[in-house]
Structure formats: structure tokens, C-alpha cells
Symmetry: D2
Subunit: 140 residues, 4 copies
């Protein structure tokens, strides 16, 4: 079953472009903030892992569908759900909502990399954290 | 067959993040620059169409695969190819190259929207420009 | 005397560059979020004014001193204070703090512009809101 | 006398905000591109110095005056001039031009920092490069 992580984002001038709505690339920034917040809440210290030379996540695949525009001052909610957890990567589904309206939805694959940029098994406590988020803990 | 549009991008500090490579959302900025340059070269005046109230393009779908990192000072080449042209939208395939190395590749769907945000038939000369880029002119 | 407006900002990957700290231009984004929040809290509806054709603020002068770096995951506080209120512009002093440490400080002048880009007297209720923020209400 | 470095920048959708003009923080990105290009042309390898652990530049002070708006598709020219060169820092004056029109002008102070973030004497060949840019070589 898993659980959903919810992260609020306000739209500021920096996020819009001259067409009056949020610039398409900026949703990726919103979604990364939400993923980082989800990881932090799950006890995953990305900065510590980076500074100690353990590694860092990199996005390997991302597919996004834009459904409705968002505008200045909008209160958005980024809803994230872990869909799959493998040794070196995980898949996260993310929806950008404004009230009950779906603004955008994406499937994001992130892989853990060594400082040299090679795929590396995620730290064991992190794997367990992702599996808890995914809702698999009872099946193991 | 169609033709490829080639657009150079240099990587600056603004494009990188603390992991030392280009932040994943910034490739979308690079690819948008390349599409805008391709349109300008094809005689499509996006600013004029926006200011006259004719309309503006919005991205509706984007799927990107990240294959290799890019770093500060890298000379990248964005290679764009129109794959499909419909009345209100078109599909563009874009590859980010560093020399012979594929850094990222994406499929991007853009739709033309009225100032109210409704899908609108692309201006006829623009449709013809996209079809020329796509290489269909000889088949009509 | 006036009052200080306090606005929290978390540092995400998007904000950093390869040197490992927040990219210098991104503090301007943080400070603009704080100013927009301060205006919203004071009852100033920037989006409404823009959409109704009344006008929009533009920065005319900005001076920033960078005092200490900020890093991924840092919890920053943007402290803003209105220093001067004129008919068409106001001056806001902003400090970026991490706990008791001063990260950056800036003086920002914003002018109200008509849709044609000409300086325009700020709406009267907004002027009064700025003067309340500045702490001049008792002196008038 | 010194020499001016000239760097062209095109305005894209990513650079604008809903008010229809370039977002104020984005001029700092344009100016950083120009400085990096000036350094590269002068033989200064910022990426090499960073990767070898020698150090990296950080902005310590920046004052910018915005004089005229810039819009989508504008061809801007960033004109940079080294004004002062000290052991650990230098001052660069930068103007953003559109044809003969001054769009923005800034004074920027950059300091060289060790990987630990401490001010460090700039590498001797870089100091000499800055002095050549500044036009002091004939006076020494």
C-alpha cells in the first residue's frame, strides 16, 4: 500500500515565464524539493552521504505530463509515492495538485552513484527506508 | 527524412549543483533554448505571436533519459529533430551530445495555446515550417 | 520603528552549484520569495494587480554583500524590513540568516510600473501597507 | 586603459517572468557567464583549479542598477571590464547592453577561496591575467 508524502509549494515570480504560468522545467525543481523532503523525513541524510564520499542520487529517467497551468501565488501540493525499490535505484511517482486539480504528474527514477559516478548499492538503512515508504515492510 | 537542428550550449556554474554535474532540470532549459532557436531559424516569431495575442507554445509531455553527466565548461550540442506535426501540436526529439557521447535524450510534445490556454491550431505558415523541418514537404 | 518580516527558506540541490554552496544569484530568488510573502501578509495582491492591468513591481537597484556560505539542507531565515516608502518606490533591507549567523544582506529598491513599464504611483492601500510595515503610521 | 570583454546573450523563455521581461536575478546568471568566458579567454581554467583542489571564486559584493527591461528574443551584449586586481580578489564592472541601450550595470567583487572557504591568494598566472585585462601591464 505504502504512504503518500505531501509537500506544499507556493508559486513565486521566479517560477513563471512571460506566458504567465509556471515554466515547464520548474516543476522538476518543485518535485526535487518534495523528494528531498520525503528522504529527510525518512531519516536519509543526503548532505552527510555526499560530504562523507558515500554517494549521491542522480535522476536517470523522468517522464512528465502537464495537465493544467499553475500561476503566481498558487498553493500547490506535491504528492509523492515510492513505486519500486531496487538495490541501486528507486522509482517515485509524483503529482502536482492545486486543490483537487491535477496540474502535472511524473514518474522519476533515481539511482545512487558513487563519487566517481558509478551506480552503487544504496546504503542498507536507506533501502529499508524506501521499502517502508513503498509499503513492503510487511511482505518481507 | 527531415533535417537536424544543432545548437551549442556551454555549461556554466549556474547549471551545476553540488554533486559537480549539471542539475537534471537544467537540461530542459538547454533543450528549450534549442527549440526556440530552431523555430526562429524556421521563421517562427514566438514573441510576435505572444504579443499580438495569437498564442504561445506549452509543453504537454516530456520524457528524458539521462545517459552521462555533463560538467562545468563542457561544450554541449543539442540536436533536435521534428518527429510529428499535427494541427495543434508537434513532437520533437532532442539529444544532448558532448562530442560523440550521448548525455541525454528526450521526446517533447508542444501544443499551441490561445491566450486563454485553450489548444489552438498552429498558424498555417508555422505548420508548414514544421513540416519542412520534419521533411514531409516532398510527400504532400 | 517598524517590524521585521521573517520567512524560512530551505536549501535544495537546485540552489547549489559545483562549489558546494548556494549559487550567488539564488539568494535574490530567496529574497524575492520573502518580499512577496511580506506583501501578501500585508494584504497586497500582486497577481490581482498584474491581471487587472494595474501594474507590477520591478527591482531598480540591488546591492548585496555575501558574508558566509549556505549549504544543502540549511534552514535559512530571510529577515525583511521596509526602510523607505515613496510614491512610486520603496526600499527594503533584507538579511539572510542561519541561526545567529549572517549569510548575506541586501538593500533592494522596488518601483511600481504600469503595464507599459512606466513608473506609477503605488495603489493607496499599498502605500499605507508599506508605511505600516515601515512603522510610520503613528507619525502621520 | 584595459580592454573590454564582450559576450552575447540571447533571452529565452526561462529568463523571463510573468511581467513579460527578464527576471531580475537572471541578469546575475548572464553576467557570470560573461565573467567565466572572459576568464577562459584569458587562460584561466576554473574547472581545473576546482578539481585539483586549488580553489574557486566566490562573489563577495554585487551592486546592480536596472535601467531598462529586456524581453524574449532580445540580443544582449554583456560588456565586462576589470577595474581592480588585488591578491585575493578583483572587481569587475559589467554592463548589459541592447544595441546602444543600457539595460543594467553592475559592480562585482569576486574573491578566490580555498576548498575550505578561506580567502586565498589567486594563482600567480591568474593575477597576471587579471592585470593584463585591467591594462596595468605597461605601468608595472
Amino acid at each position: 500500500m505504502g504512504s503518500e508524502h505531501r509537500f506544499p509549494v507556493r508559486v513565486y515570480f521566479e517560477d513563471t515565464d512571460l506566458s504567465g504560468v509556471v515554466y515547464h522545467a520548474n516543476y522538476l525543481r518543485f518535485m526535487e524539493r518534495a523528494r528531498s523532503d520525503m528522504l529527510r523525513a525518512a531519516g536519509i541524510d543526503q548532505r552527510g552521504a555526499f560530504e562523507s564520499g558515500e554517494g549521491v542520487y542522480a535522476i536517470t529517467n523522468l517522464a512528465i505530463r502537464y495537465r493544467a497551468p499553475a500561476k503566481l501565488d498558487d498553493d500547490l501540493l506535491i504528492v509523492s509515492r515510492v513505486m519500486d525499490t531496487k538495490a541501486v535505484s528507486c522509482v517515485i511517482q509524483q503529482r502536482v495538485m492545486r486543490g483537487g486539480l491535477l496540474v502535472a504528474e511524473a514518474d522519476v527514477t533515481a539511482a545512487f552513484l558513487s563519487p566517481e559516478g558509478k551506480p552503487r548499492r544504496q546504503p542498507q538503512p536507506w533501502l529499508e527506508a524506501f521499502r517502508r515508504l513503498q509499503g513492503e515492510e510487511e511482505t518481507v
